[in-house]
Symmetry: D2
Subunit: 319 residues, 4 copies
């Protein structure tokens, strides 16, 4: 293995730059030439591939987003598209590819390997924490802290008024961000895609708490479960609460990565190079027992992470 490439794909997550930096620097230290692919699989198909040096990644670890930019690439979902990508890699004599992204991106990497035997390794980068076989994904921790900071600010003002505050977080299919941010801020309720919401039960519970003296409440809802507006209307109709809405949106994807995400991304990036060099192809870097291990990409895709219901119950016990 002489030349490797790295790309970021799908929704960006904080820490992706730290992973890129580690891939480039460890690669260079190991005597490899390292290339960056711009705009994910789209850029791969278009051949937007440029050599990266040790200094090209100076000062990027602390930045949110991804210096290689990202994209969701429809063309890569086709046999045709993937073939073009493989051709581009061969044209550049690239022997191995590191893909940083979420489930869709890792699936893409897997198929690229299966169809074209391109040595790939994956790094789980997503704020959804829905990827199997790893304790955490790059970006989750930063995202959580952003949401927690926002809810904490809400609590300041909430305690001054008699109202329900609804916070809509990211999470189309995964309620992890909503659940953990709710649990760690003492939110009165958490609504996630994995558990059907019953507005009658919820309303009764809030009414009971009001009787016990709680004059305001914070409800965290994952976008995949309901919109903040839907929740607000449901409560207003049922129990006449005055509601206020916060939709954090893409603010949740940004921010300088936390120490945790920088460390995780740095370690995974370094290990990704080792995995390529050791012939551990078609694996994903995973955090397990505080160590970075290589797990088969195929198994990762087949074992999506589900919500830990013990956390869901804990959130209610503690609130």
């Amino acid at each position: 293995m002489k030349r490797i490439a790295v790309l970021t794909s799908g929704g960006d997550s904080p820490g992706m730059n730290a992973a890129i930096r580690a891939v480039v620097r460890v690669g260079v230290r190991k005597g490899l030439e390292v290339f960056g692919v711009e705009r994910g699989f789209c850029g791969l198909i278009e051949g937007r591939i440029k050599k990266m040096s040790f200094n090209d990644v100076a000062g990027i670890m602390e930045k949110g987003g991804t210096i290689l930019r990202s994209s969701r690439c429809e063309e890569f979902r086709t046999t045709e598209g993937r073939k073009k990508a493989a051709v581009k890699l061969r044209e550049h004599n690239i022997d191995g590819l590191v893909v940083i992204g979420g489930e869709g991106s890792l699936t893409g990497a897997l198929i690229l390997y299966e169809e074209h035997t391109i040595p790939v390794v994956g790094i789980p980068g997503t704020i959804d924490n829905d990827i199997g076989m790893t304790d955490m994904c790059v970006g989750v921790d930063t995202c959580l802290n952003t949401v927690v900071d926002a809810i904490q600010k809400l609590k300041d003002t909430a305690s001054s008024h008699e109202r329900a505050f609804i916070v809509e977080t990211m999470g189309r299919e995964s309620g992890y961000i909503a659940l953990v941010s709710g649990l760690t801020t003492g939110a009165e309720a958490v609504i996630v895609p994995e558990v059907p919401v019953n507005y009658d039960t919820l309303s009764s519970r809030l009414l009971e708490e009001r009787k016990r003296g709680k004059i305001n409440c914070i409800i965290v809802v994952a976008e995949g479960a309901a919109s903040a507006y839907e929740v607000a209307r449901s409560l207003e109709n049922r129990i006449g609460y005055d509601t206020r809405i916060t939709i954090l949106g893409h603010v949740q994807r940004g921010g300088s990565p936390t120490a945790f995400d920088r460390l995780l991304a740095s370690r995974m990036g370094a290990q990704a190079v080792h995995a390529l060099l050791n012939g551990d192809h078609c694996t994903m870097m995973a955090l397990e027992l505080g160590k970075i291990v290589h797990v088969p990409l195929k198994e990762v895709i087949e074992n999506k992470k589900t919500l830990d219901m013990s956390l869901y119950n804990l959130a209610y016990q503690l609130s």
Copy 2:
């Protein structure tokens, strides 16, 4: 003057607690008895008045919200309601009242003085920065930093994608928060209630910038000018932009106050006690040339602060 009271009214703003602390501590040091009124003018009408000691305000300066809680009080808008309030103050032998709040609250204080000759002094506490005759109001600085932090996070992720991000800020009648947060983050456009928005012009400008290579943009809109959804639809229809929305909501009212707000609030709180003692009644504490001065409350109400259009122009020159 022997006994004074303090209350917070209307929308809360960060730094109100620092002002309460200063009123209580300086009052006590001056030999006064100081009382806190809960829930603003509503609490005054209901007689929710309790004595506060030096230690009761320990550790509150750094907290967002207001420990006295706040309210918007319909009853106080009636002659009847204000009479009840005056009676309660007299029952408690309270000789002077400090009102911390925005325009509505200060107007209330003025009328209370005019109708019942209750010695009042006001402290401008609002995130809108729309109160005349003072450089800044308590809470504006913290709010601005919260919005700036959020937009800065958006910029991280924005640079990874080709999209328009719309951020809706507070500001029903005042565009200050939207304008200054946009200016200080280099947002591509700012939409404020004071300047009618022309979506055709805006769309043309964004298209031109796209031609020059800017693949994404951030637009900050004050809630009083348009909703984020309206802006998004307008751009999508006209120029086919993929848009993403952030609505910060009451997050903007919270947060531990900045050094600026703590200092401003502490100085205004201290001066409010001096003003009461010196017979400078029916005044508002104002920041002028870096000093705290007393300005007539009546003039404050008659001279609402308007948006500084030179800042509006500067935002466009710099973006």
Copy 3:
């Protein structure tokens, strides 16, 4: 088991309040009476034990420090002292004790169990991350982010000048904080107690980097390895660098806990109650594979965590 108590001991760490909250709330939900012991083992000996209700722990999760206060207790190191403590627990009919603290505190808990068969469970709370058999301790993550933020600020100004900046972090025997904060900020060198420092080698390396164009450097040193002043003098003498010093001190122990620490502490606090109820005595709550497990306290004490040298090497590879 009907009545349990909880205490915090030794150096405080962010997240201890979240753990206290979880112990109290889960305890109360399970029908137990829960008591808080003030000032750690000292307070236990003095009988400073008070009942805590569900509401007593409202709004504390987000606070640094510990509402129960802490201490290092010399008397508890004596047979006599521990006997007094056991007597006090029996006087209050307390059936189980949760001890939140670092190695010394957990050792104290172990001996209390061995000498007096008091059912104890431990929660690892320390910023040093030197406790065995658990991936992380409560407080480490917050501390790391505090140090990373500070170093990141230094980097801003460092890049404007030609200097060496020395940052002294906590860590008397453990270099974890220094190492990981250095790694995640791209510091040029990290000095830890576990690896003897050679100033000649260090100086040569810095000189070489200067030749390659790096005009400034950041060196992170754990207090147990050397003082910032010692490092500064060594570099000034050898290579004439202009140096600047930062000593963060106890700032590192404070701050609102991160999402990670809140979650870890909440889960460990909840599990500690379950462990007491299930008769899993003399265990410590540990994070393993993303789950909270119970490990024997004795083994924890016998297996101190050592520095992961692969991280040390990675720090140098990436810098």
Copy 4:
């Protein structure tokens, strides 16, 4: 006026980049060619002058430090050095110079004007807030918030222990940072260069407070008044306090600038270009009554700002 240059000099302060950005962008919009001088007056003497475009300053407003780098330049203090600088400016046909920096740098600009009639305008950039005739200098607000955040973290842990915490801040001749950060965190004492410290009085006061129940205290000291170690020793010797030390050092110069500093710097940068174009030479941009005005540089230098003793007294009244 066709060609102008901008430089940053002396200790850097957060917001300098926002000022550079505004000078460049407003200059370009006004049809000027704008040049950046690297490393302050040293770079000027060496002719390190490069043209800057609108895009060269994209994405720098949010960064601490200064992209032009800074220096303290001994040679510029000589007639000879300043002559070289003037020659370089003439060689590049530069008609006007914007100097961003503190008192020494602005004095340098004044002399350059007086000796060589180079049109100069100054922007006060320093964390010391010791420059006359302006309410605030660029960088002070960010620095204050950094110190306040650190002290606030200390307070968390302080309340868990019985100790005195000494925080040393920047401020060789000015106690502003120490005073305001102490005032806005409720520190028990503030030691500044402007007021001689009496350790006996201080010790008595602390002892009295201990008697009233305050078991810990925070003392903020400006480096120009005493070192943290000196304060610690003085207290330990007199009243046997256990002390802990924090020295923030250059961390105080860094950090992403606050909204206030970004706005102030942007406005001053824009006005500096207007001042050069309008022939308002040898002036400094100043904040006065919330507006940016031009004040004669000579008067600025002759009227150093002194500490506002009413703030000093307020700090004690409130603590």
